[in-house]
């Protein structure tokens, strides 16, 4: 069955993005890191599971029984108790997914900067714009290619880790996989900044600096509950205004952790406001891209 011309043009735009990502060795590098992560987990961890309960855990050959405990006031001693297998898995996954969230996004944004540069480069963008597809469709094709690639890479890493641990322990916790859409969505939110600033300023480098700035600033914003009480009225209002406007990249990791732990999410606000920020930023990016001369 033949595709419509619209689908054919979109497939061209997608294919161009995929090939570019592949040629930049970005995809291969991410796949290698992900493979290394779950292979390391697979070989490093050895567990003996007896009737579903954890009796011993060996990591890198050292045998131990993971414990957690509390200080017993009456007895005047620290009372330890065995950690449940579930909690142990949650801990491992939270660590891996948190690292994937922060490091993956930072590295991914850095690696995709040349992609934006190539897309907007004189001699390439004008050739693309001369094709019979609208500017918004062209940009959408580029973005879809990036989003799909990030989604597949996140699936490979998170899914691989989840599968390895599940096979090793026999404990299957599908809610761990919620990290995949969260990593993808938050990457998309931060990519909106690098893309939009690159379109507006023709400087992907500036876009990357601003995006990194927003990520690091979000760590400060995440401490709003501690900071606001010690600020003056005006400063606190200004701080909270910025908090509501800018993406809460760092705070979203808490939402991710709560979802991975299958705990009740205390507040969806950081995720929702970040998605809204991304939505508006993409809107500005599409508007600029549709209006500007190349």
């Amino acid at each position: 069955m033949s595709r419509s011309p619209g689908m054919t043009t979109l497939s061209g735009s997608l294919l161009l993005t995929f090939r570019e990502l592949w040629a930049m060795r970005l995809t291969q590098a991410m796949l290698a890191v992900a493979t290394l992560a779950w292979l390391l987990l697979s070989f490093a961890m050895n567990m003996d599971v007896v009737e579903g309960s954890l009796t011993a855990l060996r990591i890198f050959g050292f045998e131990s029984t993971p414990t957690e405990g509390h200080w017993d006031e009456a007895a005047g001693e620290y009372v330890s108790q065995a950690v449940s297998l579930d909690n142990f898995l949650i801990g491992i996954n939270t660590f891996v997914f948190g690292a994937a969230y922060f490091l993956g996004t930072l590295l991914g944004l850095f690696a995709t900067m040349p992609l934006v540069n190539g897309f907007l480069e004189q001699g390439r963008v004008d050739l693309l714009l001369s094709k019979p597809l609208s500017r918004s469709r062209l940009l959408f094709g580029h973005l879809t290619g990036v989003w799909i690639t990030v989604f597949l890479l996140a699936t490979y890493l998170v899914g691989g880790v989840w599968l390895t641990l599940s096979l090793k322990t026999g404990v299957w916790m599908p809610h761990f996989l919620v990290a995949i859409p969260i990593i993808t969505l938050m990457f998309a939110v931060m990519y909106s900044v690098i893309l939009t600033i690159s379109i507006g300023s023709r400087s992907p480098g500036l876009g990357l600096v601003v995006t990194y700035g927003l990520i690091f600033f979000s760590i400060i914003l995440a401490s709003h509950e501690q900071l606001v009480p010690v600020l003056s009225g005006t400063s606190a209002a200004l701080f909270m205004t910025i908090y509501h406007i800018l993406p809460n990249f760092a705070e979203v990791v808490l939402v991710q952790t709560q979802l991975v732990e299958e705990a009740a999410v205390i507040s969806w606000y950081p995720l929702v406001s970040s998605l809204l920020f991304g939505f508006v930023t993409y809107g500005i990016g599409f508007f600029w891209f549709s209006r500007r001369d190349f």
Binding site: R3, T8, T9, G118, D126, L129, S130, D293, F294
Partner: protein
Amino acid sequence: MSSPVIDISALHKTYSSGIRRRRVEALRGVDLVVSPGEVLGILGPNGAGKTTLLKVLLGIVRPTSGEARLFGQPAGDPSARQRLGYLPENHRFPTYLTARQTLDIYGRLAGLPDADRRVRIPSLLEQVGLVSWEDTRVGKFSKGMMQRLGLAQALMNTPEIVVLDEPTDGVDPVGRRDIRDRLRSLKRAGTTVVINSHLLSEIELVCDRVLIMNKGRIIRSGTVDEVARQGTGWRVEVDQLPEAFDPTALQARLEESGRTLVVDSGQPATLNALIDALRTSGVQILGVERHRASLEAGFIDLITSGEESGEESSREEAP
């Protein structure tokens, strides 16, 4: 008369740049009509507005005012570009793609179905002489090979109009001849071609009509002969001129040697009037020579003399 492929009227484009929003008028009231099957060459010095004119036509740059239509549709309408092929100046293909992959991706972007691409890609690679390089990454291509691949890319969708910005830039003489031959075959097939080039000899050999731009305006339009004739005239060699003889009154000028009179006008009546006056004054005429300027000479004359006959922006119709 068939409806024009390109119809541009009162087109203005002003760029603003920098913090002070410095304004540059790239196009200042351009009017142009191009008929189907015509091969039009656009000439002009750097900054004349040639590339901007093409980019407005393709919707890559938005006009400040005026109107540009392609196949009767507003420039920038994607559907109009369905029937167009474009080779930009200094185009850059992704270096990691092979020639075949490049044509496949740009063919997809042109909306060409799979079956058509399977037929067109080998055929075009053959036509531009890149068959033996089809699986080589374009990063290894020379400038000339890139231009030939660019031309193949522009022809992927069998366009009704091909817009080429400096198509022979960086191409060796043999490659230039090949591109010229390809353009001639397009012309025979009835394809409309618009070429923007600095190589006037290329334009002279291929184009039906030439358009000269300067400072954002069309200052001359016509056939190659018509434009070249702007620099055509006569040189009259004489023995000795009497003191009282005033050549300027007869639209002639005396060269420094003092023995050659130059008539810049291409009108025979002007030459005859000069000869009559010389004979009446008893001047011996040693020889009369017609000099026909090349397109290049005509172009240089037009630009350097600052001729602004196109300032009124008369509508430039296809002959």
